[in-house]
Symmetry: C2
């Protein structure tokens, strides 16, 4: 009567049923091993390879930065109005996703979201006037990322919107105490963040501002904070990769908040409306996960000689990264096109290039990086579970460390691949995998699918060379 | 711009980090393949092997029976008082888990639960009087399974308790229309079903009877039914095996019911109490999963020549099975001891033998049978994810079919191994794996851990021979 009976299978005759699947799985994994074609470091570029070799001072810096990332303790502490809490938020300012961009270069869904926000704020009376305002310089556009914020897809955040407030409750000596902000998730389909701005979209945003936001504020204040790191860790054990699959995280969020919501709000009808809205949205948790990743990554910004990426973001036109040792500087390239599964009636040709701050999840080492532990996601973004597992294993090759808190049961509880090192990306030519929603390329339509893509290579290479130069290599 | 970018990994250099884990995984799987030591059918018992060979008439019967199991559509339709809805429930009757058993042979936790139920019903004023009543024949004890019911652990169900009502909404020609019943889950630790009956246990049961049950009744009536098959399928995609791991199922249950609970109940404080109780219990969903499995399996009871198992249950003293082609007849053996992980302060020596109707989950092909898709469960029951996957693959060898609705993402969405065939169990000597909670062997204490065990072999062999005899083989 000792040991686990599962260990006592030796000598048991195993029938064939099911073995074919296993064989496939072995072949898939074996096949991967077989195709590890050696390629010269940095794609055969001897000069770059030499530079990387001389950047060993990054190691100690990365170790210190990664320790801050490990120590991060993102906690949901409040819901507040954007203009009251987001640092530097001003009247007639609209925050957007990705690196900086002017109206002229904005993609369709980004312009659509801006029009919607202008109408919501009452700065224009109709679409035409809103477009004119957007174009004539009367609105200041700034990246969410310049204001301790993130937003999925267009990421458009205007002054009167309610935002989640996340605080990194790590000790100050480990970079803690900082806060990050994110608007509330509207659901899928015709929603502002995908570029829709019809009356139903604006009505929903008004209700979120007037009823949902205050209800959630009362809830979280009654709770005295909710540990989002713990919630994400649990959701990963339930097969979420917490970027495009937030099913378990959203359900667990509801489980943890509902008793307090009911207590704090009191009125059963209002509780029911809030519960119905949150329950009706598989992705509601995303707007807690994103600012938590942001608050975690900000803790390792600005570490001298550090070659770790603390921002990856897209505005629908450009993809950009920022590297710890290079401060606020963006390195950009044209945004690529996600490949994926489309809702009925839409197809690849309708897709807008990659958009949104949600790649902050991959920057932390979640999303596409942990797809292997979230095999059911392939039903939403395409591919197979074996490919998802392969993707996760590949990401270990470009990350500095493994998370101590986010573990992957299917890999015997190995930590998630965490903290992208620009040196490793350039050295291995392995580019970060990102799961993403797909917006229609025209304003006013909304989400049309979800898929997967690789980050473009150029920003990583340019950042590497800039860091080398700064280090005097 | 076609195909999935995950498929385009050929030629990419893969770094070594993480490969060790993969190698282990391959070795684990390869190791399993290597140890498929051939053993003679039926353990070398030529007579039994010959009987099995002559039972080919089972095939057609099993096919028909399995079709009913596939078609089952268990739906939560109501919460009612046991004596009002459970067929044959009478005053001074207590239902219990497993095969029939008299007071004299009941284990400690079973007696403890009976004492608690007698006190709850007000049939005795104290523990001593309750024990006397239990012993002197004034209470009739019958298996839940004889009354279209199931109950976890002691399974004790008394007339005034609220019960979940599950209806199999398959067409009548596929065995649909039947109902199954199960009490409500009390949580872990000191609870009636693990043999505890202190005042806090009884107070909780009274609150469940007077407030929680009616609140859930109002909820499900407002909802007009909840498709439990769909909910289980989703939970499996979120890493539950829905026997000992019900985290995702419980959270999803809360997600789906809360808006209706708030609407139907109205009073925020009462909603909060109900929500807090349900949210505080990782296993709340178990008492929906079990009657759903029961309602599904009942649809294939009594099919002539059918060698599929439709009941596996334990009362803490005996383990018993029932086979479709043999009607109501039980085949029993002494209950075995689960091996597992214990709560602080308890150890293996404190454990009671295997107890509860919850093996109905494994009978359907879930629980221990799908552990491979629920790798995080090993933190609760012991073992490793690789062993869990091996267990699932082994169960394909003793089951008749694969579920069309319950699929396992990690096995590329293969259907769960479904419907145990007594012929295959005897032929292969592979015994069903059961995940289970572990009760203290003494009355009045409660749960002390959770673990895994194998069903005993004798009932399967005896049932096989009885079926062969009935078939004239």
């Amino acid at each position: 009567m000792s040991g686990n009976p599962l260990s006592l299978l030796e000598g048991v005759r195993v029938a064939n049923v099911g073995a074919e699947l296993f064989a496939e799985s072995i072949r898939a994994q074996g096949g991967r091993a077989a195709q590890v074609d050696w390629k010269p470091p940095a794609g055969g570029d001897r000069q770059t390879a030499g530079i990387i070799e001389r950047m060993s001072a990054c190691d100690e810096a990365n170790e210190r930065a990664a320790e801050r990332l490990q120590a991060a303790r993102p906690t949901w502490i409040d819901v507040a109005t954007a203009k009251d809490v987001i640092p530097g938020m001003q009247d007639r300012m609209i925050l957007h996703s990705g690196p900086p961009i002017a109206w002229e270069r904005m993609s369709g869904p980004m312009r659509g979201a801006v029009v919607g926000a202008i109408l919501l704020e009452g700065w224009a009376k109709d679409e035409r006037e809103a477009e004119r305002l957007g174009a004539n310089g009367e609105i200041s556009f700034e990246p969410c990322h310049h204001h301790s914020s993130v937003g999925p897809m267009a990421g458009v955040t205007s002054p009167s919107m309610p935002v989640n407030v996340i605080e990194n409750q790590a000790p100050p000596e480990l970079g803690g105490g900082n806060r990050a902000y994110c608007n509330l998730n509207e659901g899928l389909g015709k929603v502002l963040r995908y570029g829709a701005y019809s009356p139903e979209v604006l009505d929903r945003l008004r209700w979120m501002r007037e009823e949902l936001g205050p209800a959630l504020r009362a809830t979280i204040r009654a709770m005295g904070g909710l540990d989002i790191k713990n919630l994400i860790a649990r959701a990963i054990h339930m097969g979420d990769e917490v970027h495009n699959r937030n099913l378990a995280a959203t359900a667990t969020f509801i489980r943890m908040t509902m008793p307090h919501l009911a207590d704090a709000v009191g009125d059963g009808k209002l509780v029911a409306r809030a519960a119905r809205f949150i329950s009706g949205n598989d992705h509601f948790f995303l707007n807690y996960g994103m600012p938590s990743a942001k608050a975690s990554l900000e803790a390792m910004r600005g570490v001298e000689n550090c070659s770790l990426v603390y921002t990856m973001a897209r505005n629908g036109t450009d993809f950009g990264i920022r590297v710890s040792g290079l401060g606020e500087r963006w390195f950009t390239a044209p945004a690529k096109m996600p490949i994926g599964l489309f809702f009925p009636g839409f197809r690849q040709e309708d897709a807008n290039p990659d958009i949104g701050d949600s790649a902050i999840m991959e920057t932390l080492g979640l999303g596409g990086f942990v797809m292997g532990a979230a095999p059911a996601i392939v039903q939403f973004v395409g591919g197979t579970p074996a490919e998802a597992l392969r993707a996760t294993n590949e990401m270990y090759g470009i990350t500095w460390t493994r998370s101590r808190d986010y573990t992957l049961p299917v890999l015997e509880f190995a930590g998630a691949p965490m903290a992208i090192d620009v040196r490793k990306v350039v050295e291995t030519n392995v580019l970060p995998i990102i799961n993403t929603g797909i917006a229609h390329r025209q304003a006013g339509i909304g989400q049309i699918g979800a898929g997967i893509l690789r980050a473009p290579e150029a920003p990583f290479r340019e950042a590497l060379l800039a860091l080398a130069e700064k280090m005097g290599v």
